[in-house]
């Protein structure tokens, strides 16, 4: 079997420009199934744009995204989500006026089928779905140590805990590929340690993880890292290889 056959995500020749501004240039890389893959780059490198293209928030000007052997470039965010491609956001996007518990229930949305009419009439299917979602939420609350705050509104939580809620909500949706956008921003050193442990734990359940960060400590959880600079992949390899790579050192530290 070739290495390519094991790739869950393939970013093929992606370019994107906004008017005259070229943000991504022929970006090519792959995320092997069950790996933790990192994407690093200085501010303005195009990481978020690339992430938005992968998750369906933006369309590329050129190139394609393949996921699980399917060309997903024309698919909507929701269709990608149903295929198991989930993402988090740079600023945690919890549902602020919902409790932590309800945030998790939203994570189960795509496992349900009941619609508006069933909801209005409170048909048995609604209750079945709610029971299943409640059971899943209970497990995830314990896994993520959120039991004590499950009845609190998400907006009342500190930023670090909101990140955990967002992560828990993604995990309850049973993702196959989890894309995390700067998950350590706003976290304390201790919280970053906890986050790294959590990422390892999620990875062990078979979830493939794509991590965007410029936090070198967090990025050390990655098996393979791609470095993006001015819209181009300038290096890839392990953390040690990346740190030693002259182009990366120049981009990050200005060292020749």
């Amino acid at each position: 079997m070739t290495e390519a056959a094991d790739d869950l995500l393939k970013v093929r020749n992606i370019s994107r420009h906004f008017g005259g501004l070229q943000v991504l240039r022929h970006v090519d890389f792959a995320v092997p199934e069950r790996s933790i893959t990192g994407l690093i780059g200085p501010n303005g490198a195009g990481k978020s744009t690339l992430f938005n293209i992968i998750s369906g928030f933006l369309t590329p000007s050129e190139g394609d995204i393949d996921y699980a052997g399917v060309r997903i470039t024309p698919l909507s965010i929701q269709q990608r989500s149903e295929m198991g491609l989930m993402r988090s956001f740079q600023t945690p996007q919890v549902f602020p006026d919902l409790t932590v518990w309800e945030n998790l229930i939203v994570g189960c949305h795509k496992h349900g089928r009941s619609g508006m009419v069933e909801g209005l009439l409170a048909l048995p299917v609604v209750w079945r779905e709610r029971r299943a979602a409640s059971e899943a939420a209970q497990r995830i609350l314990e896994d993520f140590n959120l039991g004590a705050v499950s009845g609190r509104l998400a907006r009342e939580l500190p930023a670090g805990q909101q990140r955990i809620v967002e992560l828990a909500r993604a995990v309850i949706a049973r993702p196959r590929l989890l894309c995390l956008d700067e998950p350590s921003s706003g976290l304390s050193a201790d919280e970053v340690q906890d986050l790294m442990a959590t990422i390892h734990r999620i990875s062990k359940t078979g979830v493939t993880i794509l991590l965007v960060s410029h936090d070198m400590e967090l990025i050390s959880v990655c098996e393979r890292i791609h470095a993006l600079c001015f819209g181009e992949i300038i290096a890839n390899g392990t953390l040690a290889e990346i740190q030693a790579h002259p182009d990366v050192r120049e981009a990050y530290l200005g060292i020749q």
Binding site: S55, Q93, F95, H109, S114, G119, G151
Partner: protein, 332 residues
Amino acid sequence: MSSRRIAVTASRTLTIAAWIAGIAVWAALPWLLGRGSVDILVFAGLYTIAGLGVSFLLGQCGIVSLAQSVFYGIGAYSTAYGTTVLGWPIPACMLAGIVVSGLVAMLVGTPVLRLSGYFLALATLALAIMGHVLFLEWDWLTGGTLGIGGIPHLSLFGFTLNTPFRFYYFIWPCAAVVLWLHYNLLRSRTGIALRAMRDAPSAAKVAGIRVESLRVRTFILSAVLGSFAGSLFAHYVSFVSVDSFGIDRAIGFLLIAVLGGARSISGTVVGALFVTAAPNLLSRLGEIHPLLFALLLIVAVIFLPSGFGGAFADLWRRLGGSLRPTVKDGTP
């Protein structure tokens, strides 16, 4: 443990007692009030149904709709035209109104609901104006300014609902059923999805929620409520004219949602009572009454930012808070 059980029992008893007292007062009111006052209560019931559509859209979807008067009008004219000109049975006419309203909501909602905030509110205002003009101009269908008269009253179990007294006992159970359905919806998968997409649409999309389609479906549901209320209105007053479906009616429905507290379903009832009863009570004070109503609105909005519903919920929490055990987790 036993004190906790006592607290739970006390809280439950309080709730049941409040319900029984409420129902008793509701049932007794028409016997105690004059015909005019019962008529106002009937309108409050009609407006609860139509206002709930607006309130649900605003509170759960964040959509400000001024278009409810159009759907209210479609419901009224469908049943008026259907029963008097076509000779259709009443349920068929009401159903036709609901279908037409739903279709209009779908056709208009699909492009318009891509807007948000003030632009969306303005677009729905434009819809209300267009509806009013069409109701006026299509006089072959609506009777224009002359309206349509002779709309038959509803009959139920041999009773013709031709007095405020009788209609009162019909409209409020209808309103109660509609409120109950919306309670159900709010607690279902769709209801939670609605609130999620209202607060963080991007994250809702990632969770697999089809945001655009859900907004349109909720708009359709709101239109259906408007149409249903409009049909009932036509059968109650047995005469409809374009005056009943103007911009003032649209604003009235939005007021119900804002005053009632858009996030509270039961608040809609209070909002509807306020919008129907307050102008009437104030009119006894003479010519100055529209000004007083406006003043009252300003005071209500300043002191009750989350509407009557929000204020009652606070009060209820405080009343029951000392009795009810604290909820430690959000487990339903």
